[in-house]
């Protein structure tokens, strides 16, 4: 199976146009708001946007709420199992979910520089 590179995408872009991303491989970054071992899903929050991440493919991982995580996976329509995404002042993507295959903790990542770098790469048409 050929893997496809995960393009860095911001959560607000997925919340705004989730359907456009279905089928694409993406890399998302955000703070872990909550994790449900029963449904094996995590809720990632970045600013005013949130995304549900399906972590079934990641195996046994210790998740710490409040840490910054990066997930790489495929954006797909949400699975039937529901996750509580009622978070104050935050919009959650409802029509798309990330099925993660890689996760890592990125605490200490300078998000301002990270965002600027991605915007520069997009301007240069590399991403």
């Amino acid at each position: 199976m050929d893997l496809v590179a995960g393009k860095p995408v911001f959560l607000e872009e997925i919340v705004a146009k989730g359907a456009d991303f279905i089928g694409q491989s993406a890399r998302v970054t955000g703070t872990l708001h909550s994790y449900s071992p029963a449904t094996e899903s995590a809720v990632l929050v970045e600013g005013q946007s949130a995304l549900v991440v399906d972590t079934r493919l990641l195996g046994v991982v210790k998740y710490h709420v409040g840490q910054t995580y990066q997930f790489i996976g495929v954006l797909s329509p949400p699975t039937a199992v529901s996750t509580d995404t009622n978070i104050d002042d935050v919009r959650c993507a409802t029509d798309v979910q990330l099925h993660a295959r890689v996760s890592r903790v990125v605490d200490g990542l300078d998000m301002v520089v990270y965002r600027r770098a991605i915007m520069e790469l997009r301007t240069a048409d590399i991403l």
Partner: protein, 162 residues
């Protein structure tokens, strides 16, 4: 914007005059997929940018797949957001004798890999000479560095008359 890879018009005996020939070129993985092979060394030497010749690269990315083949080699697939490439680490006899001594990374680790380019079964791959784990901010810095160096590759020609 795709990097235009122009074949070098210089004879092969002059390739060594280009500093790019001797360094590990800092490139995006996405640019590697568009490299032009340099005949007759079409599996190890490549043209990039404005007539530059390279044989080694430095890549920074996240490990998305690990495959161990017996004790002799470990294949890492590296993803830097622009593409994915296989990087192979050939274990030394000492590492084969003591597999626990092999520095093995995990999926999700961010690493910097330096090595030479090779084509195996029509697939471009990097044969690792050295590698190290790096932090996430290093990856962001690497993106910006490569973006800047890309302009050099695209504009500055390999010119022995300078």
């Amino acid at each position: 914007m795709n990097l235009q890879n122009i074949p070098c018009s210089r004879p092969q005996t002059e390739w060594g005059l280009d500093p790019m020939f001797w360094v590990s070129a800092k490139l995006f993985i996405g640019d590697l997929s568009r490299l032009v092979s340099a005949e007759p060394l079409s599996t190890t030497v490549f043209y990039i940018g404005n007539q530059h010749v390279i044989k080694a690269v430095e890549l920074v990315g996240i490990i998305v797949s690990i495959e161990r083949r017996a004790l002799k080699m470990i294949y890492y697939q590296i993803d830097d957001g622009t593409g994915i490439i296989s990087c192979v680490h050939f274990t030394t006899p000492a590492e084969q004798a003591d597999p626990d001594a092999v520095e093995c990374y995990s999926i999700g680790d961010s690493i910097c890999v330096r090595g030479r380019l090779a084509v195996y079964r029509n697939q471009l791959e990097v044969i690792i000479r050295e590698s190290e784990a790096v932090d996430p901010n290093y990856e962001t810095l690497a993106w910006l560095e490569r973006l800047s160096l890309r302009k050099f590759l695209a504009t500055s020609p390999f010119d022995t008359k300078q």
